[in-house]
Amino acid sequence: MEAAVRVDRLEKTLGPNKVLRGISLEARSGEIFGLLGPNGAGKTTTLRVICTLLGPDAGSVDVLGFDTRTQPEEVRRRVGVVTAEIGVYPRLSARENIAYFAELSGILDGEVSRRVDTVIERLDMGSFAKQRAESLSSGQKQKVAIARAIVHDPPVLMFDEPTSNLDVLASREIRDFMVESKGRGKCVIFSTHVLHDAERLCDRVTIIHEGRVVAGGPTAEVRGRYQDLEDAFLSLVEAAR
């Protein structure tokens, strides 16, 4: 299957720290791709380069054939990002928050309302869509964050530690949503250090440590002879030190 996201020998330095040291990976449409690693491994920086928030120092990234360096706006049209930071505009309603991002994503004026209604229904947000965001719970805010990331129906979805601030129920809904998106043919990139989630959800994983890939491939293959992915992960990270 053709890669939706291709990262090739990516390097990135932030301040005095060389964060990425030649990361290469490929994520495909219709799969959940796990980007695993301990805190500070470079997962968030990799995702930020893929979605064009940061530029690569060396190497290249392309998303559905568009180079992040030369066609960043085309890349951003095709990517939706959900992070653990569920910042929303407090004085706008949930619906207004989503509509704002729909408009900025270039959805035609006549289409905005229909698209917003669609995501509100899909994420079961009808009961609080008209409430101001400042009065929403964390789980409801996370739904707003997901809705704004998918309202333009991007073929690539990236989840960066999306459940780290959520309770069990809200985390479950996020996981279900990722599986549903995969079923719709989306390329889902899931960055996490919760290996239990990764093992259950991901078709393929790449483990990075200190800015380098230490293992990659189908989840079962990376787990290999170990009892679970956590054991494999610890072993691989230890070996890379």
Binding site: L14, G15, R48, C51, T52, L53, L54, G55, E73, E74, R76, R77, V79, V81, T83, E85, I86, G87, V88, Y89, P90, R91, L92, E96, Y100, F101, E103, L104, S105, G106, A145, R148, A149
Partner: protein, 375 residues
């Protein structure tokens, strides 16, 4: 530019739902008439106030009549120099040699009145002596002067008052009226963790920034015009002396109003860019406020300059200095009733360039990677 319009609409909606900004604008509009009322009361009472002159010695005949007619009450004291420190406003010792005056230089009104009385008294005595000797007293005034003021003293005082307060309010409100909104849309965006999502949209960042600057400019403009309108309404109700038999009120000519609005637009756009740039530099709203604090001093100084040098006649180069140029142009149009178009053109150029530089700085800050990494 569609993205700019989308951002502008959203920012306006958020600002209009933000009590902080609305309360700040409302309070400024309400506070201005109150401050003016107090100022007018104080100035009216100062003009009508009677002062006490403590004296010893024998007062020349007829001088007491002049004292009483000028609102200076006479009081006999033992030691005029000591009494002038607290007990009375001026101390005088009449002696054979003349008159010794003791006064506090920081309180000049009583002294000015005293000098006027003494001048009149001297002139009357000299004229009487000359007449007694058969000499025409007009020899003392070989070049008679006929004074023709171009406006009544009341109108001149009103214009002078307006030429200080109007630029002051215009500049301070253009800065502070939109400050909260500017920091909210820049530092607040980072603090609320919405910045990353915003930058992830395909909207060009320059357009996003333009939308934000436009929204803040509109609020600054509304704040400045609301405060000035309330000031003008208050002034129309307060009498500043009498002109041609009628109570004199201060008003703004249509020309001055037009110039003021034009300058308000330029100032609002420049301040919006500047405060958003500072807010973008800050990690949170509070830090943004700390960064913006020096702006108060930087802007209030030129706004106050007219008070200290009212007759300052600047060369064209002075109109290149942002803020000061707006103050000078407004002063000219209020006091003289005409616009020096060259000065206005230079001022416009200067403020447009200032706004452009601030916008460029804001854009550079808004598009750098450190914006995200630092957060």
């Amino acid at each position: 530019m569609k993205a700019g319009a989308i951002v502008f609409r959203k920012e306006m909606r958020e600002i209009l739902r933000d009590r902080r900004t609305l309360i700040a604008i409302g309070l400024a509009a309400l506070a201005t008439p109150l401050v003016l009322f107090v100022i007018s009361q104080v100035s009216t009472r100062t003009v009508a106030q009677a002062y006490t002159v403590g004296y010893t010695g024998t007062m020349p005949a007829g001088l007491d009549v002049l004292f009483n007619a000028t609102g200076l009450n006479l009081k006999l004291v033992d030691d005029p120099a000591e009494a002038a420190k607290q007990q009375v406003d001026i101390g005088i010792v009449f002696s054979d040699k003349g008159l010794d005056e003791y006064y506090d230089p920081t309180r000049q009104i009583a002294d000015i009145r005293l000098q006027a009385i003494l001048s009149k008294y001297d002139a009357a005595k000299v004229a009487a002596s000359l007449q007694a000797k058969g000499v025409d007293p007009s020899v003392l005034n070989p070049l008679p002067v006929s004074v023709h003021p171009l406006s009544s003293p009341a109108q001149a005082a009103g214009n002078s008052f307006l030429s200080f307060f109007l630029p002051y309010i215009l500049i301070t409100m253009s800065l502070t009226g939109g400050l909260s909104a500017a920091l909210d849309t820049s530092a607040g965006e980072r603090e609320r963790k919405t910045l990353e999502s915003l930058l992830l949209t395909p909207a060009p960042r320059g357009n996003v920034l333009i939308g934000k600057i436009l929204a803040v400019s509109v609020i600054s403009l509304v704040a400045a015009i609301a405060a000035i309108t309330s000031m003008l309404i208050a002034l129309s109700q307060i009498s500043f002396g009498v002109s041609q038999g009628e109570p004199a009120h201060i008003g703004l000519s249509p020309l001055a109003a037009g110039v003021m609005i034009w300058l308000a637009v330029l100032l609002a756009a420049s301040f919006a860019s500047l405060t958003i740039a500072l807010g973008t530099l800050a990690r949170n709203f509070r830090q943004g406020q700390a960064y913006a604090t020096p702006l108060y001093f930087i802007t209030i100084f030129p706004a106050s300059i007219v008070l200290f040098i009212p007759d300052f006649n600047p060369s064209l180069a002075y109109y290149l200095i942002p803020i000061l140029n707006a103050v000078l142009v407004l002063r000219d149009v209020i006091v003289h009733g005409t616009v020096a178009w060259t000065a206005l053109a230079v001022t416009t150029l200067s403020l447009v360039v200032t706004g452009a530089v601030c916008f460029y700085a804001a854009l550079r800050l808004f598009t750098r990677e450190a914006l995200l990494v630092r957060s």
